[in-house]
């Protein structure tokens, strides 16, 4: 068996850095293909191919505008990634260290009370 297709889910789609770049640009507003080509300094066919992958996993949507195709972000498709990774945040965030400190204090007060 080979690696899962890039179009399998958002996790696979965003493994490619260019596709993350494309999403970053689209986060600032919708763009026709040619704008992306210039903003990212990529060849047009590659941009179209990356957009296809992103469209297949639902991360972008298209709208026709004359001879252009305007792409826009659909952030909702990235939600599973956010949901998965956010549970790991406590292993590095100092917010959780501070919460630990508070809980520690509460425990100590309780013990003193006994």
């Amino acid at each position: 068996m080979a690696r899962a297709a890039t179009t399998t889910d958002a996790f696979n789609a965003i493994a490619e850095p260019r596709r993350r770049q494309i999403l970053n640009v689209l986060a600032r507003g919708e763009r026709p293909v040619n704008d992306l080509v210039h903003e990212l300094d990529l060849a047009q066919p590659q941009v179209s191919k990356h957009l296809r992958v992103l469209r297949e996993v639902g991360a972008v949507e298209v709208r026709g505008d004359g001879r252009r195709r305007v792409y826009r972000l659909n952030g909702e498709a990235l939600r599973p990634i956010h949901d998965w990774v956010k549970d790991f945040e406590q292993t590095w965030s100092e917010r959780f260290d501070q919460l630990d400190a508070v809980l520690e204090d509460l425990k100590k007060e309780e013990d003193d009370g006994q």
Copy 2:
């Protein structure tokens, strides 16, 4: 050119669902390989191979314990993913909708004041 190696970075490493599962288990505490084999119902060689990938991107660390090797999570390695994806949260989170509503109200009050 082929797809980037799975060991290139955390984004590529976690594209594989089994590796996410492994990290999920390790988030509850360190585990020797065999525990993972049984908790995830995977063949031992595959678990070892996935652990190697995770180790190469820094997502896990090992500790020897007799003839066992105990793996533990290093969540810090997932931080780039969290940081990248969190900027997209506002496109779906209702927290941001509520913030928008507040800003709208403030703007209205300001306009009434003029």
